[in-house]
């Protein structure tokens, strides 16, 4: 094992990450003087946009070939830059959703935004990680902040208890999943003597490799830890509870950014060394992906609350993304990065509408609460209809091209049966997504007015997501 002599630092590659961390620190300091949450929101959005600019520069720079830093522990290839964009977009949308929500509710602690940014920086590290220790670091940075955010609703009412319960549940299960993953990493290191994805790959494919069982068990445990974050069956149980209990802006963030990071890691290990460590691990994973699509879609079908329905729907989409992971060594990277952008826009958009329509304490998200929204709030209803149709995969919206990408990748990699399972379960999806549209447009109005007046930031998030969903769907070549 050889390491470069000097510490290998690429400042351009680090710039988006460092921008986020610096912005989080500035926002924290700012909040010492000014407890108004909206100042912090403004600072963090600015920081994210700046990180986006740096990321664009990095993308142009890396077009010539992948850039690495720290001896290949941090990679800047096409997957990194494109998923960093996805994370930045997801975080911006989540902050816009939170802007007035946090200000007007008992969640109102200004530390919310710096935490969110730190979590996003952890997600970005996971995306770029080129070795298992970096991956673990990113995962822990991301997760710790999200545990706190999930439990962010203070007070004694039922919504606050639910939020605290969600945070606690997520923390305990997440810590357990991390432990499993660390154990897996340890076993992989023990078997191969390397933390590097390329090092592990080289060791297990070497002709004299003597510890295949140890490596396979390590690979399986590593996969388990990541599958927990990605909400792949049978480790998806926490998702509906935590998504429902957490304040809606936090759910927005979790469902898009945390998922993006988890799938990036799955893609990297899936393409990097997992099939070589043990084909059986991939075989197991393919069964779990199929089960995830079934459980997610049928789970969503049974829900009355829209937040819980969206939580199960995100499990279903984890299944579709799993198809891309299975094709990681062929077309999976491109398919997954496209799908994740589409998924981020439509899911964040749907949660944003939910945050505006339900009450400030997140109660009142039942289907009947949306009745007649088409007449009461035509703009919001139209946007929600766009997100639902896109999630259902109806062209010409982004969700369709995303499905086309992942199903093509899966069929191309030989997983025809799984693709058929995916399609059949998405017929179920059409039903429950369309139910929302039906209620909004075809049912009689419930007279309840929207809480808290006009939420400009929330509406901006919805408009951005809706326009993005349509434009991406009509002109898919731009992403």
């Amino acid at each position: 094992m050889t390491f470069p002599a000097a510490i290998d630092i690429n400042w351009l590659q680090l710039s988006p990450l460092m921008t986020l961390i610096a912005t989080a620190s500035i926002a924290l300091l700012y909040n010492l003087g000014d407890r108004d949450t909206r100042g912090g929101a403004g600072i963090t959005v600015t920081g994210l946009i700046l990180a986006g600019v740096f990321n664009y520069a990095l993308m142009r720079e890396s077009e010539g070939g992948p850039i690495t830093a720290f001896g290949g522990r941090l990679l800047a290839d096409q997957l990194t830059t494109s998923l960093w964009f996805v994370i930045i977009v997801g975080a911006v949308l989540a902050i816009l959703v939170a802007w007035n929500y946090i200000h007007n509710s008992e969640v109102g602690q200004p530390e919310y935004y710096p935490l969110l940014l730190l979590s996003a920086s952890g997600a970005m590290v996971m995306v770029a990680a080129g070795d298992l220790i970096t991956l673990l670091l990113g995962l822990e940075i991301m997760s710790l902040a999200v545990y706190v955010l999930s439990a962010f609703r203070l007070g004694h009412g039922a919504p606050a208890r639910q939020s605290q319960e969600a945070g606690m549940k997520y923390f305990l299960l997440g810590a357990f999943a991390s432990a499993v993953m660390i154990y897996g990493i340890a076993l992989l290191y023990g078997a191969t003597g390397s933390f590097h994805y390329t090092g592990v790959h080289a060791a297990v494919t070497a002709p004299d490799f003597g510890l295949p069982v140890l490596a396979a068990v390590g690979g399986l445990l590593l996969l388990g830890g990541l599958a927990f974050k990605a909400a792949i069956f049978p480790l998806q149980q926490w998702a509906p509870d935590v998504y429902t209990g957490a304040p809606t802006p936090v759910t927005t963030f979790m469902s898009v950014v945390v998922k993006t990071a988890a799938f990036a890691a799955l893609l990297r290990v899936g393409a990097g060394f997992l099939p070589e460590v043990s084909p059986a691990v991939i075989e197991v994973f393919s069964w779990l992906v199929g089960a995830t699509m079934v459980i997610g879609n049928f789970g969503a079908l049974a829900q009355q609350g829209i937040k819980r329905m969206l939580a199960y729907s995100s499990v279903a989409h984890a299944g579709y993304l799993g198809l891309a992971v299975l094709a990681a060594s062929t077309d999976g990277f491109r398919a997954a990065s496209w799908y994740l952008m589409a998924y981020t826009l439509m899911t964040a958009g749907a949660f944003a509408v939910l945050a505006l329509v339900s009450r400030r304490d997140d109660t009142g998200d039942t289907l009947s609460h949306f009745a007649g929204l088409g007449r009461r709030q035509p703009g919001l209803a139209l946007a929600m209809a766009i997100f639902m149709l896109s999630l259902a995969g109806i062209p010409p919206l982004a969700g369709f091209a995303g499905k086309l990408f992942v199903f093509s990748a899966a069929i191309g990699a030989g997983y025809v049966v799984l693709a058929v399972v995916g399609i059949v379960t998405s017929i179920v999806g059409v039903y429950y997504y369309f139910r929302v549209i039906k209620v909004m447009y075809f049912d009689q109005s419930s007279s309840e007015a929207l809480p808290g007046g006009i939420d400009v930031a929330g509406r901006l998030a919805i408009a951005l997501a809706a326009v993005g969903t349509v434009v991406l769907g009509v002109f898919p070549a731009i992403w």
């Binding site: 693709a419 399609i423 059949v424």
Partner: protein, 484 residues
């Protein structure tokens, strides 16, 4: 030009909700402009733009072949529908007209698409306006009708999506363009072809529709807005036969040949079943829905005969019935406005007080049941001829439909317009008469001068049947020209 046929109605649809009262004029203008553009399609350039280069999808359109005739027929029906809807639909008129035009734009996309993914995109996109029209303007049991329609349509088409992807991947084609797929698809072995063909066939059978996946159609028509305008959109949307004709059969010729006997039988049964059940209906809209189902069966036997005569005839009948069935639904809307119900028993003897209405109704019924000299006859004749050349037995079954059609057609007219007059009804108003003009013109056009339409459709038929019957592996001169 080719793109304009889609863009003109689509842009009008997007502007319409913003225009208020002016919207009706703009909508009508767009419908007429689309028709004029449609007439110039045969000389139009094909469109080829990159859409999703990663996956080999190009935005390819071509107005040659059957598309020429279908787009024109749909545009003709749409002119009448937009005009009538402009004053007959009073609740949120401009949104309704916008949906109608969006429907037309996407339908034209279905007919013109030369890339299979683009075809699928338009195929699915059409679902949205038709669902909204049914859901917002529909009758009392619309919720059940909407969900039934949605599940049938999506269930079929999502399977087709698997078929589309699998076709490209298994055949090794580099893209989804018709020319690439047709060369690659024919080389697949029969079992693979059959599996992929089945995925297409389910989607197309639902939209054809064929028995036993037809039941959404009846609820769909019964529950749609009583004006009949939304039914026109629904009539135009029965594009399953076109899917078989333009895609499934030429792309998977061996599978098509193997499946043709079964499909032909189903189509013949559909034709007869629709006709016989129509005789027993007491509700005008349900009767028309079953009659239209029966026509679709005849189109089916034509297409599944895989004979040039039958396939051309099927597409000709598809175009002609767009006009004649639409006319009947609009007339039903006019009658329903006068009586407030579609129950046949509420009518009777109307010919005395409303002679013009009666005569146009009789004219449209005759066209619909295939009286020579009027719209449906040439297509019906060619379809049945094709079926006869393939399997005489099923051709006879399908031909029995003509007897049923005579019974339900004449019965319908007798019960509504002859006999004792229960209540006098006002005759056609001036605007109603204008509504019916394009339909009458279309019926006469398809009846008297079908030659131009036939020669246009034949361009594409030849490509399809040569592929299916004579030379399964040879690339096609005809379709190659289209893409230039």
């Amino acid at each position: 030009m080719t793109l304009a046929v889609i863009l003109v109605p689509l842009i009008a649809a997007l502007l319409l909700p913003l225009l208020g009262g002016l919207g009706r004029i703009v909508a009508l203008g767009a419908a007429i402009a689309t028709f004029v553009l449609a007439l110039r399609l045969p000389s139009a350039e094909a469109v080829n733009l990159p859409w999703l280069p990663d996956l080999g999808v190009t935005f390819s359109l071509s107005g040659h072949g059957a598309a020429t005739v279908l787009v024109a027929a749909a545009a003709l029906a749409m002119i009448g529908a937009v005009w009538y809807g402009g004053f007959r639909v009073t609740h949120r008129t401009s949104v309704f007209l916008a949906l109608l035009l969006a429907m037309q734009a996407f339908l034209n996309g279905i007919f013109l698409a030369k890339d299979l993914v683009i075809f699928y995109v338009f195929w699915e996109a059409t679902l949205i306006p038709s669902l909204i029209m049914l859901g917002v303007w529909g009758g009392s049991a619309k919720r059940a009708a909407v969900m039934k329609y949605l599940v049938y349509a999506m269930g079929g088409s999502l399977l087709m999506l698997v078929g589309i992807i699998a076709l490209k991947v298994t055949s090794g084609a580099t893209g989804f363009h018709f020319d690439e797929l047709v060369a690659a698809g024919a080389s697949l072995d029969l079992n693979t072809q059959l599996l992929i063909f089945a995925a297409f066939a389910v989607a197309f059978a639902v939209k054809l529709p064929l028995v036993p996946v037809h039941s959404w159609l009846i609820d769909f028509h019964e529950q749609n807005h009583p004006s009949g305008v939304a039914d026109v959109a629904g009539t135009l949307y029965k594009v399953g036969a076109f899917g078989f004709f333009a895609w499934a059969i030429p792309l998977l010729p061996a599978a098509a040949e193997a499946a043709a006997p079964l499909l032909l039988a189903l189509a013949a049964i559909t034709a007869l079943y629709g006709g016989v059940v129509a005789v027993a209906q007491t509700d005008l809209k349900r009767l028309l829905a079953y009659a239209s189902l029966s026509h679709m069966g005849i189109i089916g036997v034509g297409v599944f005969s895989l004979q040039p005569e039958g396939m051309t005839g099927g597409m000709l009948l598809l175009a002609a019935q767009m006009v004649s069935t639409s006319a009947l639904f609009i007339l039903a809307g006019m009658l329903g406005e006068r009586r407030g119900t579609f129950e046949l028993s509420a009518y009777g003897g109307l010919a005395r007080s409303a002679p013009f209405l009666a005569s146009i109704m009789l004219f449209s019924i005759f066209a619909s049941i295939g009286v020579p000299g009027l719209g449906n006859f040439p297509g019906e004749f060619l379809s049945l001829l094709g079926a006869w050349l393939h399997t005489p037995g099923w051709a006879i079954v399908a031909t029995l439909t003509i007897i049923a059609a005579g019974i339900y057609g004449v019965n319908l007219y007798q019960r509504m317009f002859q006999g004792r007059e229960q209540l006098p009804a006002p005759d056609l108003s001036f605007r109603e008469a204008i509504t019916l003009l394009p339909f009458v013109a279309g019926i006469l056009w398809f009846g008297i001068a079908p030659a131009a339409a036939v020669s246009n459709i034949e361009l594409q038929t030849r490509a399809g049947t040569e592929q299916a019957i004579t030379q399964p592996t040879e690339p096609l001169a005809g379709t190659m020209e289209d893409s230039q």
